[in-house]
Amino acid sequence: MNEPVLNLTHIVKNFGQFRAVDDVSLSIPRGSIYGFLGPNGAGKTTTIRMILEIIKPSSGSISVLSTDSALKVRNRIGYLPEEKGLYKKMKVWAVIQYFAMLKGMDKQTAKTRAWELLEKYGLKDFGEAKVESLSKGMGQKVQVLAAVAHEPELVILDEPFSGLDPVNQTVLEELIKDMADNGQTIIFSTHVMQHAERLCDHILLISGGKKIFDGTLTEAKAGIPRRVILETSGDTQTIEQLDGVISVKPAEQNSAQDAATEWLVEIGEDVNPQDVLRHCFEAGISLNRFEFSEPSLHDVFVHLVGDEAREHSAR
């Protein structure tokens, strides 16, 4: 139980001159939902492909399910690649059955399982349809089902939410939670933070091939300053002098001409936000709004990789 499902040790992958993954080490505990987060081109897909041994790392070592090669345990792994596609001419249930059989399931069990999954996740009516007749989102759901039909111990989903509407995103989240409840380990990559926030207990943040952070969600949030949002027309200068207040800045959405009415107050980890509120009363600053919220994963992401991500997209 305590043995990690996956261990990456100093993984490097070069494509010619380009270093796609740069010295990433990682350990994924059994039964966790692990999010690979990072901007586009960060090296998430490359890392996943190396885990599955579709490509080999230039250096470093990988151990999957206590073996040195994913190929040896490939029947215990389920994989949904980033770019989605299925055999267009096949029937929906047959596709799921086929991929389950490729993972070693016998024909009859695979068929039963395919229909079971289709029913459970609302696709029963499309079971006999051909894949080409499905919408993109539905096709993607089918593909997720095909990837996990053989009940793998380790499920790796590369960008599973992209292209799904909100309703189906929720269905997929449920599927992931169901699998986690079932004791399966799930790794998924995304650049949409909300999903990771709702689902993950651990995350890996990666940017430009380098690991920025890995650990639990709580640890990730602890690493960035907490913030209070104030809305007032009064003078906020005195707040800055308070103990534990790091900075007071106008919130970004203020238009340039108007005097700032919304302020962002960053406070230290051990500061009680109530102290800021009390000061406002005492100093006679009248507040239209006072808001304190725990930082979101989005904040964490922007805080940790924001500049770098912008740099990447500008290139």
Binding site: R49, L52, I54, I55, A70, L71, R74, N75, I77, Y79, L80, P81, E82, E83, K84, G85, L86, Y87, K88, K89, M90, Y98, F99, M101, L102, K103, Q143, A146, A147
Partner: protein, 526 residues
């Protein structure tokens, strides 16, 4: 192994389920059957041709009439021989000129050997009535009586307003509207289109060409004038000129005091030729029709191989590219090894190819067993000869070898390309290479151990085609063993190399690689 079977089965089913697959399968037999029926329909459907004969010299009218009648009799003879072949008690491909055992077979063989002589004999013996009486003991009992074809060329009278004594120019001018179908010629109560005008001018004898005479100035209408718009059906002018020539020669002989009866007998004298096969056992050296077929059969096999291989590799390519462009390949590679995937594909598509060939053969058998005539009976016997010969094992071997070799190459191409369009550019040289032995196949059959052919047989991409092509001629053992070893070695090499390219190529995106990159792929450690 299980995975290979699973992949192969899916590939097979996927192809077999497509409409295109069945279209290809059905279209070839349909074309053949259609062509067969069309041909017999066309030959029976040639309409009666009406012609006008004006003999101003008054010498050759009879000769022309004889020519037309002779042409008609020739047609009856041919039809009757077909009828005989269709309905005689036993058709035997092993039959040769020397061993024809009865009068009916003799007639068939005579027509085959020398139609002119056979026709003379036919007319001399009294034509159809005699032939029917002669052949009837050798025919099956349950057959329909022979139906004589109607005359094809029918003489009609000159229209009343045209003067047969006018100058040729005037006659032609008067008849031109009929010849160009602007006007129909009257045939008693009906009317029809005039096919030809045969005009023999008065002073025709002045135009007779003799050896040593000066050739005529171009542009002058000399001799018999044959006016017709149809330039392809030359039976009528041929028959007429043959007959007139015979007439002229006869009178020349007479003028020279030669006995024409003697001449004709001399002309009908002929020497038979026996084709003998030195490699056959004593007493069986006589080359029969069956032997000839056996010699030519490789052409059919080579062609079958070509069509089937082209179809297979096409599937292989498009399936691989579909998986690549859909990125299914990534899921597959997370489940099976690249080698398993490749082998599964090769086996699956190969089975689809065998299904095609099997269906073709089956529909062929069904056709000839349901529809039996002289020709199809011939085909049945040809098939028996071929199936009984040692060509089948050769075909099976070279088919699989060719498939393994070419599909290996095409699979590598498919793994490097993202779209069929890209693949087409890489495919073209491979197709051109296959066209070379296909274009050569008729020559190879005639001269199978020619030095150029022997040399080219050693090129592995040609080996399956050329060696199959040469198979019936018992190629030297050295060639057979040598090319086979080379072929098998190159199959292994190609499969190994394309396995490497496949592994590297399937996950590639973007343009197909340049040569340098390809070399890197091949030399990369997988």
């Amino acid at each position: 192994m299980n995975m290979i079977r699973l992949i192969a089965w899916r590939e097979y089913m996927e192809n077999v389920r497509t409409k295109g697959f069945w279209v290809t399968i059905l279209i070839i037999p349909l074309i053949f059957i259609g062509m067969y029926f069309l041909q017999s329909a066309l030959s029976n459907a040639t309409p009666s041709r009406y012609f006008i004969l004006i003999d101003q010299s008054g010498q050759y009218e009879d000769a022309v009439a004889v020519a037309i009648e002779r042409e008609h009799q020739r047609r009856i003879l041919q039809e009757f021989v077909n009828y005989l072949m269709e309905n005689r008690k036993k058709t035997d491909l092993e039959l040769t000129a020397a061993n024809a055992s009865n009068a009916a077979d003799q007639l068939v063989d005579d027509v085959d050997a020398d139609e002119v002589a056979a026709l003379d004999q036919w007319l001399e013996n009294g034509g159809l009535d005699y032939a029917v009486a002669m052949a009837s003991p050798y025919l099956r009992d349950d057959i329909e009586p022979f139906e004589q074809p109607g005359p094809q060329f029918i003489a009609v009278d000159l229209p009343a307003d045209v003067d047969a004594k006018a100058t040729p120019e005037e006659i032609v001018t008067a008849l031109r509207p009929y010849l160009t179908d602007e006007q129909e010629i009257s045939l008693g109560s009906e009317s029809g289109s005039l096919f030809a005008l045969i005009l023999i001018p008065e002073n025709i004898d002045g135009d007779i060409a003799r050896p040593g005479a000066m050739p005529a100035a171009p542009g002058t209408n000399r001799g018999v004038q044959y006016w017709a718009r149809n330039l392809t059906d030359s039976r009528l002018p041929d028959a007429i000129i043959r007959s007139i020539n015979a007439e002229i020669r006869e009178s020349e002989y007479a003028n020279l005091g030669v006995n024409t009866e003697l001449v004709r007998n001399v002309q009908r004298t002929r020497m038979p030729i026996s084709q003998l096969d030195p490699s056959a056992a004593a007493g069986e050296e006589m080359v029969s029709v069956a032997d000839t077929f056996r010699q030519f059969a490789p052409i059919g096999f080579v062609y079958l191989m070509f069509i089937s291989l082209m179809q297979n590799v096409q599937y292989l390519l498009s399936n691989t590219i579909e998986e690549k462009s859909n990125r299914i390949i990534e899921v597959l590679l997370a489940s099976v090894t690249a080698d398993e995937l490749m082998m599964g594909k090769l086996v699956g598509i190969g089975m689809a190819g065998l299904t095609t060939i099997g269906t073709w053969l089956l529909s062929f058998f069904v056709f000839i067993s349901l529809y039996s005539t002289a020709q199809t009976e011939l085909i049945t016997q040809v098939l028996e000869v071929i199936l009984g010969s040692d060509l089948i094992p050769w075909f099976v071997f070279y088919y699989f070898a060719g498939y393994a070799l070419y599909s290996g190459v095409f699979l590598a191409i498919g793994s490097l390309c993202n779209t069929l369009k890209e693949a087409q550019a890489l495919m073209t040289p491979m197709i051109v290479i296959q066209i070379i032995p296909i274009a050569m196949m008729a020559f190879v059959v005639m001269d199978p151990n020619n030095t150029i052919v022997r040399t080219m047989s050693w090129f592995p991409l040609f080996t399956p085609y050329l060696m199959m092509n040469r198979a019936a001629a018992d190629p030297p053992l050295f060639d057979v063993v040598g090319t086979t070893i080379l072929l098998v070695a190159s199959i292994l090499l190609v499969l190994w190399l394309s396995g490497k390219v496949f592994k590297q190529g399937v996950l590639r995106t973007g343009q197909p690689p340049r040569v340098v990159e390809l070399w890197k792929l091949l030399s990369a450690k997988a």
